[in-house]
């Protein structure tokens, strides 16, 4: 365990090295938030609620969604694919560590940095610049836990795509497709409420909504109650377990076909 924590710390420090990257991400996020603010403002000009959501709720959903989007972006699939292709994975495999856990902790390290450098500033901006009001209730308490589960779901999806690198020499296309699917079907771009009813029903059966929609609902739902939130959390945990087992099985099978050429 000590080893994994050291890995997490190391990965956090690596993120600090690229501090200028954060400046641009924050800048980009400010622009995104401003555009989203005026866009939704003009959409809401015609009525106070659309599909049962007020402007405030929608904007929290979208704004916080963008903050979570950046938070969860740890590029696991890209890094993993690169390391498998270059054979750099060899230097992890010679260590007495579990590769899946190693990757998880490394990813969590950079998540912490994202949290401190981007997500929290965005949150502050949402409260003080865009004047959004959060509903006080159990949602705020359960939100961090739900967010952590969201990270695990997102991580295991990325990890799975990264592991495909064992089979395919380039997962560039796959990664891009995955990115689009996750962004759209998870509610990161547009709240799931705005999707057609039928599609919403389908999406609720997929793991993607567990990444954005679930934690965001906990913050924005006006009917704050444990009876609603706990089942939502269990669905997230369900997906974490399923994806964990699936990636384990896939890894055990994929590692057998590993080829490391040269050197």
């Amino acid at each position: 365990m000590r080893g994994y924590l050291a890995v997490m710390r190391g990965s956090f420090m690596v993120s600090v090295v690229y501090r200028f990257g954060f400046l641009f991400t924050i800048l980009g996020n400010i622009i995104y938030l401003s555009v989203a603010f005026f866009l939704w403002k003009s959409i809401y000009r015609s009525s106070d609620t659309i599909r049962g959501l007020t402007f405030n709720e929608t904007f929290i959903y979208v704004g916080l969604g963008s903050a979570i989007f950046i938070l969860l972006k740890t590029y696991v699939d890209w890094i993993l694919n690169f390391e498998i292709r270059e054979g750099a994975i060899a230097s992890y495999l010679i260590k007495p560590i579990d590769f899946g856990l190693y990757t998880l902790f490394a990813s969590f390290g950079s998540l912490l940095m994202n949290l401190a450098a981007i997500t929290i500033p965005t949150l502050i901006m949402l409260i003080f610049v865009f004047k959004v009001e959060f509903v006080l209730g159990p949602g705020l308490i359960i939100f961090p836990l739900s967010l952590f589960m969201a990270f695990l779901v997102s991580f295991y999806i990325d990890y799975f795509v990264g592991l495909l690198g064992f089979h395919s020499e380039s997962v560039w296309g796959l990664s891009t497709v995955k990115e689009i699917i996750v962004t759209v079907f998870s509610g990161a771009l547009i709240p799931l409420h705005f999707f057609p009813e039928a599609l919403q029903k389908v999406l609720l059966w997929l793991p993607f909504q567990a990444i954005y929609h679930t934690p965001l609902m906990m913050i924005t739902r006006p009917d704050q109650s444990w009876n609603i939130f706990l089942p939502m959390l269990f669905v997230q945990i369900f997906w974490v377990v399923i994806l964990f087992i699936a990636t384990r099985l896939f890894y055990n099978q994929a590692i057998k076909v590993l080829r490391i050429s040269g050197g």
Binding site: R2, G3, L5, A6, V7, R9, G10, M13, V14, V17, Y18, E86, G87, A88, A90, S91, L93, I94, K95, P96, I97, D98, K256, L258, R259, I260, G262, G263
Partner: protein
């Protein structure tokens, strides 16, 4: 019982036959045209604790593949490896604790962090206690003097510095076995010398078993007592270094650039040498590239200085270089039966 036991080990890879050009690349998308490459084709050996073994062979001989199988990264296609009685591939995490590995062409250090941070992470991963860690770092500092590099980012290190740090890292958890895969590749002579000092010292004081693959016969001469020569996935020679030492110790290649080189020059050279040293002169002559001629001399039979002298007086030699025998030539000589 021996520390490492390898029996009939083999590994083959399936490789997609790639076609040329853009059209070829598209057709490859749907291609099922695989060919099998035998990287390691049935090798057996035993290594005892405390040995330093040179595992050598030309490019593509299967050295790295063997090492990757011994470290448990790759699964053998056939045969058996046991280290301390355990199969590395099945007990990777447990085995990793007793092994150290240096891949000369990659680093296990964290590219973006200062050197010392990588050591600290490794300390935690291998569960090394603080006292052992400090002792180890002091020892390495004494041997190679790395202290001033500790605060430097790994990616700003020179190749030599990085390799020394990598070696330090691989010995950190006091492993029983250290695999060094081309550790001296691309290094200058002074760093190589340092590297050899460390390896020797650790083998002496800690009885660490070392398996070294290299292209540099100097490394082998300086370090190993035993060598295993491998080519095309098969073992050509496994035994005492002394026998082989005579092989590459005695041979030198004289590279000559001769003025007015033409197709008859090689013949004239040979005639002149036979005239002076008799038919059994042990010299082979071959044309290298653009007017460079290779004259390989067995010093046990004919002294190099005399050959050079003789050639200088009879030909207009514009440039001369003397090189030690290459790995490829050693292997060729082993094939020709030089060791039997």
């Amino acid at each position: 019982m021996s520390l490492i036991h390898v029996k009939d080990l083999s590994k083959h890879f399936k490789i997609l036959n790639r076609r040329e050009g853009l059209g070829g690349a598209f057709r490859d998308l749907f291609s099922g045209d695989f060919r099998t490459v035998e990287a390691v084709a049935g090798i057996s050996f035993d290594i005892d604790a405390g040995e330093i073994v040179g595992y050598i062979g030309p490019n593509g001989a299967g050295k790295s593949t063997t090492i990757k199988m011994m470290t448990g990264i790759l699964k053998p296609s056939g045969g058996l490896i046991e280290i301390n009685g355990l199969v590395p591939y099945e007990n990777r995490i447990r085995q990793a604790q007793i092994m150290g590995v240096v891949f000369g062409q990659r680093t296990q250090l964290w590219w973006d962090l200062p050197v010392i941070e990588s050591f600290k992470i490794l300390k935690e991963i291998y569960k090394v206690d603080q006292k052992t860690f400090d002792e180890h770092m002091d020892m390495f500092n004494e041997l190679v003097g790395l202290k001033e590099l500790y605060s430097q980012q790994v990616r700003t290190l020179s190749l030599g510095q990085r390799m020394l740090c990598d070696i330090t890292a691989s010995f950190l958890h006091n492993p029983q076995i250290v695999f060094l895969d081309e550790p001296t590749i691309g290094l200058d002579i002074s760093v190589k010398a340092k590297m050899r000092t460390i390896i020797k010292e650790l083998n002496r004081t800690r009885n660490t078993t070392i398996i070294l693959t290299t292209h540099d016969l100097g490394d082998v001469e300086a370090l190993c007592n035993r060598i295993i020569i491998i080519d095309k996935g098969k073992i050509l020679y496994d035994g005492d270094i002394k026998k082989v030492n005579a092989l590459f110790g005695a041979y030198r290649t004289l590279k000559l650039q001769i003025d007015q080189f033409n197709e008859t020059t090689l013949q004239t050279l040979n005639d002149k040498l036979t005239e002076k040293f008799g038919t059994d002169h042990g010299i082979t002559i071959s044309e290298n590239e653009e007017s460079w001629t290779d004259v390989t001399i067995d010093q046990a039979r004919t002294p190099l200085s005399e050959v050079l002298n003789h050639l200088m007086t009879n030909f207009t030699v514009m440039d001369v270089r003397i090189v030690e025998i290459s790995m490829e030539n050693v292997v060729r000589k082993v094939y020709d039966g030089a060791l039997t």
